[in-house]
Amino acid sequence: MRTKAIVAAVVALAAVLVIPPLISSGDDGVRGLRVLVPNAPGGGYDTTARTAAKSMEEAGLGRNIEVFNLPGAGGTVGLGRLVNERGNDRLVMSMGLGVVGAVYTNHAPSSLQDTTPIARLISEPDIVVVPRNSPYRDIRALIEAWKANPGAVQVGGGSAPGGPDHLAPMLMAKAVGLAPRDVRYVPYDGGGELLASVLGGKIAFGVSGISEYRDQIQSGDLRVLAVTSGQRLAGLDAPTLKESGVDVDFTNWRGVVAPPGISDSERDRLISVFTKLHDSPQWAEALRRNGWGDSFVTGARFGEFLSAENSRVAGVLKELGLA
């Protein structure tokens, strides 16, 4: 009986000690900044948040920065939580273009217009890729074939409808005069699964962020037909869509927003922390390592950018019946 009691006590103690650190919850009163990641560990917002947190600590800008995940519904579950934390100046959320579209596709009650914009941190252009043995040698050949028979030219992307990899080909389709509804878009579960079907020739072309594919491009397994951004990318022999006659300038971006209702001085303090992060050598190194573009914009200008993106995304999704 006594051993049982001891065992029970030990188990209870172990449970109390082990479980709370494993579950990333906890409440206010935590000193230091908390970063909400609205998707699962390993995703884009997660990588950005953890990299930023690490660089901040290394640069001596903060201590005990806690990154926690609250995934769900393309980031809108996390967004809802952020909007509910009105006035909390120790919380920011890592987010990006995907959340803009997810607000529409999920019919989320809160939108990014309800948050306090802090900073846009990075950009990552999408690329149009085909496998090594694809019949399409350049972007013009692909566009010709696509226009001739959109049903036979399938495009794959690593995000669900409303996400960046979905929006980019839809904008391309609009630019070349195809109705978005005619596009055969096949969503894959992330860039990895998409890569498999591009390499396996299951789809005519893929559209996704560049960072996951650098190695395959270098080894020659993938051919990049175009980049979706306004400028060419250093170290990548591929034209922009614009110079190929397709009027699309599209770049996936990620940044941070804070809860609504924080005071101006609190907002400025957060902006200054992220500005210092941006100026640190640690962050420059992180950008280089991850192949991210530097697209730093803060505060009100970031807010204007958010509303512009919002109307652009809403336009495409409305045509598809998603918004």
Binding site: G42, A108, Q154, P161, G192, E193, S197, D215
Partner: protein
């Protein structure tokens, strides 16, 4: 064999005291984490990432590999003892493992799982060394039509686990399929059965469904009957595997990797479907078919070996193509990038010391896992000596913690208890629980692959069977379906075949 000499070098890297220590730490942490339902190896690796920034990459990845293998194993411990699968790959283990535990054969089940895990991981890792580039090339040729064909095959296989009453079995399967429909439709982005709740938009996690139906449903059922039944603690039998257990287990241990490894290597393979196919295979091939459902050791040994081998298979596509096929692989890929290492086809050339050290440490980790868990099996099994009310209270506690930990949302707890009530009702009316869980796993996957295939073929129905692999699989499906008919039409052979007695006694038809 160049790979072999590089592997030897890899062991040189893995067997330094520091790396050995990290492997042991990883395995230990992984086992712990696997035991807690809902907190999977993916989350564990993500949480530990900041801790390992101080380490050099090789050491960090050796530790991550230990966590991965340990977590895959730890999940089966709670599956067997508490009917609460810690991981989705361990769901199948609960079906036979838990009845074994309740009969006092818990330590045998745990030992069969531990050895199965070791054998599966060993064979899987050897296959990884020898076949990685070849398998990776083949794996990317598998497309949506092929996956859908595999799903159809799996659905056919489901009928053999429907239980004694086909109607009840199908009812249960349909409950599972309905739960699987909840969430965003991936093709069009429309919401289904979410009732406007954002938290349901991603669907319900398989672990929550399994824990709800198995653990919560079971606890409620026991609570409802506790007064009528004497509450004796569960007997704890002999601690070791008997000769008979070994005789029955060794074939499933060897068969498991054959199913598990290729699935792990497929970009959309995962560990759930192969473990389930392994279970069905073992049930078909076993001479003790009647024992299935009441604690047949084959049903633990096979799926465990399968799960472990599929974990090794996952690493094939991650290391050779840079393709993450599971959440853990995705986190590990992100970790690679944090260290400035670009995973992909050039990884083996560029970072050969790291890759081979990692592979060698998998062997080390597997051995450590076996050494750790085999002696622990009888200790764990003693857990069941706790009187039933306390035991089930503990199960409910762990189930709730696990459901909350999946994504930290209160809604998941409510969902867990609702599904638990469904589980209670299903038990009350004699509906088997397993087909429902299989429906949740297979339904969404099958739908997604089918619609993807149709999208690729621009709506042509022929797009579902336009690859050699899918045609072969459909031929097998047709054969399975028509076999009873063909057998009937064939002239009956005189007496039994001469070489050995038929392994599968056909049911008498009509």
């Amino acid at each position: 064999m160049d790979a072999f000499s590089q592997l030897i070098d890899g062991f040189g890297t893995a067997l330094t005291p520091a790396h050995l220590g990290l492997a042991a730490l990883g395995v230990l942490l992984g086992t712990f984490i696997g035991v807690l339902p809902g907190i999977g190896p993916a989350m564990a690796v993500a949480l530990l990432l900041p801790v390992t920034y101080g380490l050099e990459p090789t050491g960090a990845f050796i530790m991550f590999a230990g966590i991965y293998y340990g977590g895959m194993f730890g999940g089966s411990t709670t599956s067997i003892l508490l009917n609460t699968p810690g991981e989705s790959a361990a769901v199948v283990t609960a079906i036979e493992g838990n009845p074994m535990a309740r009969k006092g054969r818990g330590s045998q089940a745990l030992a069969a799982a531990a050895i199965g895990h070791f054998v599966g991981g060993l064979i899987g890792t050897i296959a990884l060394v020898l076949l990685a580039p070849t398998v990776a090339k083949l794996a990317i040729d598998i497309g949506a039509p092929d996956y859908f064909a595999i799903m159809v095959l799996a659905f056919i296989a489901v009928t053999s686990v429907l239980g004694s009453s086909r109607v009840r079995g199908f009812a249960s399967l349909l409950i599972g399929l309905a739960i699987g429909l909840i969430g965003l439709d991936e093709m069009t982005g429309q919401q289904r059965l979410t009732f406007g709740s954002l938290e349901l938009a991603d669907g319900i996690d398989v672990v929550i469904v399994a824990v709800g139906l198995f653990a919560v449903g079971e606890s409620l059922w026991v609570a409802a009957h506790l007064r009528r039944r004497p509450s004796e603690p569960i007997p704890v039998g002999r601690p070791w595997l008997g000769r008979d257990d070994l005789r029955r287990s060794w074939k499933p241990w060897l068969r498991g990797p054959v199913i598990g490894f290729p699935f792990g290597a497929m970009p959309a393979g995962g560990a759930e479907i192969p473990t389930f196919l392994s279970y069905v295979t073992e049930k078909r091939l076993s001479k003790n078919r009647k024992e299935f459902g009441h604690g047949a050791i084959e049903g633990v040994a096979g799926p465990e070996a399968t799960a472990s081998a599929s974990a090794a298979g996952t690493l094939v596509s991650m290391l050779t193509l840079g393709l993450p096929t599971t959440a853990v692989a995705a986190v590990m890929l992100a970790a690679f990038q944090q260290y400035g290492i670009q995973p992909g086809p050039l990884l083996f050339e560029r970072e050969s010391e790291l890759v081979w050290g990692l592979i060698a440490s998998l062997f080390v980790g597997l051995t450590l896992l076996l050494l750790l868990n085999l002696p622990l099996a009888p200790v764990w099994a003693k857990l069941l000596k706790i009187p039933r009310p306390y035991l089930y209270a503990g199960i409910l506690f762990f189930a709730s913690v696990g459901a909350y930990a999946v994504s930290g949302q209160v809604v998941d707890l409510i969902v867990l208890y609702v599904i638990g009530l469904i589980g209670l009702a299903m038990r009350r009316y004699g509906l088997p629980v397993l087909p429902a869980v299989i429906g949740v796993i297979l339904g969404p996957a099958a739908e997604q692959q089918m619609r993807r295939a149709l999208q690729l073929s621009d709506g042509e129905i022929g797009g579902l069977f336009n690859t050699p692999m899918s045609i072969v699989i459909y031929a097998i499906v047709a054969l399975i379906l028509l076999w009873p008919l063909v057998r009937k039409l064939l002239p009956s052979r005189p007496a039994a075949p001469d070489d050995e007695p038929a392994e599968r006694e056909p049911e008498k038809v009509g």
